[in-house]
Symmetry: C2
Subunit: 349 residues, 2 copies
Amino acid sequence: MPSDQGLDFTCPIPLQQYPNIVLAHGAGGRLMHTLIDEVFAKALSNPDQEAEHDSAVLPHETARLVFTTDSYVVRPLFFPGGDIGELAVYGTVNDLAMSGATPRYLSAGFILEEGLPIETLQRVVHSMKSAAERARVHIVTGDTKVVERGKADGLYINTAGVGVIDDGVDIAPKHVCQGDAIVVSGDVGRHGMAIMAVREGLQFESAIESDAAPLADLVAQLIDAGINVHCLRDLTRGGLASALNEIAKTTGYGIAIEESAIAVQEDVSGACELLGLDPLHVANEGRLVAFVAPEDAERARDIMRAYPDGGSAEVIGTVTGGTPFVTMKTFGGTRIVDMLNGDQLPRIC
Amino acid sequence: MPSDQGLDFTCPIPLQQYPNIVLAHGAGGRLMHTLIDEVFAKALSNPDQEAEHDSAVLPHETARLVFTTDSYVVRPLFFPGGDIGELAVYGTVNDLAMSGATPRYLSAGFILEEGLPIETLQRVVHSMKSAAERARVHIVTGDTKVVERGKADGLYINTAGVGVIDDGVDIAPKHVCQGDAIVVSGDVGRHGMAIMAVREGLQFESAIESDAAPLADLVAQLIDAGINVHCLRDLTRGGLASALNEIAKTTGYGIAIEESAIAVQEDVSGACELLGLDPLHVANEGRLVAFVAPEDAERARDIMRAYPDGGSAEVIGTVTGGTPFVTMKTFGGTRIVDMLNGDQLPRIC
């Protein structure tokens, strides 16, 4: 620590003087201000932020708002196809999009572990910046806390998101009807297996890449095309199986799907077999399931197929009467698809 | 783990079957749903939440929005005068209030360490519920992640907040003028010293209690009384000294304060002396500094004094011309009050 900073406190402490995070970076004093100015503000500042204000004052809104939050604790921080910063943007944007909202603003709260290289933080923050540009949201407010070595795992990020819903758009589980077609926007299981392959040191011809991507534009395209969208769900933790079970439980309807309609990349299904996992339980970060009026099913699928990385979108089943179970027709018969039990995939997002 | 849950997946797993957090509580499957239903939804559910939706759809707004976020990593989780749950509500509500907003909605993101007693989590969640009622905000959306033992410290909470600003209200650092009176809403240093006294095992006649409290009603009272409020700042990490230095740095004005006008409880100043701390650098969680037109100074102070726990509110100084320093008249002369250097008080919020 420099010995005398009594009179130069308007000058920031040079960033390179502390190449790794120390507790003082979270203490509210000069080092924290240096971090904010040099790392966060440089990458993320935008017209909605006012200097040195505790909160972001946003333009006048005249719409229904949507509000959501997610924390991100993925390990490792960087993986094929993405990193924690990208996930922290797309994951929250996608939660907003599932209600038919246009994502507008994100907050970003960082919990940093003492010893984290500033260079790692800079990479993550730049990745958030690019992801926010791609998803057309503004990161308008943030916070940094630092905890002692061994009290976090590099860094954790929380983002909360605010979006607006156009009049007339009403997408929610309560609108699911018997007879609805169930359409999935692409192949499943890639994000979870990209992470697990890195952790387990699995070798394939090419690395399995996460499907991490923003979905709000796809949702807007479905709505703009006049598709009668009843409910949307992004397929994150717990995978397709958990999303379908949640909808069955909430609506009281049964769900019948066909295994042959669900696309799984060959290396993903190989890795799942190796690790004893069911790809339907594996997380995705750029996939959604849509419940739409049956007459709109093919049109919805075609819009999804035209969306980046959506080539294997497919109608996978229908909403049925009866008991709130998810059943799947397989090569050999029919089986129940349960919600994930246990912790097969900790910290994949 | 029970051996056969194949067909009873609509029944939650009894909460008491896992008295401590396990990784599966964050995996997106049945245990996570049990935790959400039994711990979070029971305490925090409200009319703005729809069952099993990824985000909260909120009523139509026609106002300027304010958006803010903070993570809370305080250690210990419970301390005299408050706990992490209360802080997570008041801290974020107060950030909204500092722009003159009426706080409306909070999100709550939990990062839980494997092994955390569910009973501890329940205490914290109930405390958040009471705090939200007191501050008249709704916790409308949330998220839970679980990390392995040794990768967090019990639990961390992030809250983001959304508020609305009435037309005509515009409170921000850019409105600070030369000649403004500086009014502090009560005695300073209590929150930080309540935490430090517990950590250091200091014994006083009675425990130092945190000043944690919501401030939005106080701000509303100042505005409603027609006080010309130019800028507000809550005195959290870095204390009064950092807040004043931030305003000096942002506005380019000097700030002159009088030590004798700043109230510090006797046991707080005793504890500070013992630990070699300056009470002006110590965090508060229920105090604000207001920059107001000079003719409104006494009236602002009197409103603060009538607010709960505000008996020692006082006009402590003025905004001056000259260089952007904070100077303090003391018994012996005048000294510069610097921003906090280093990490004297890690993890106090």
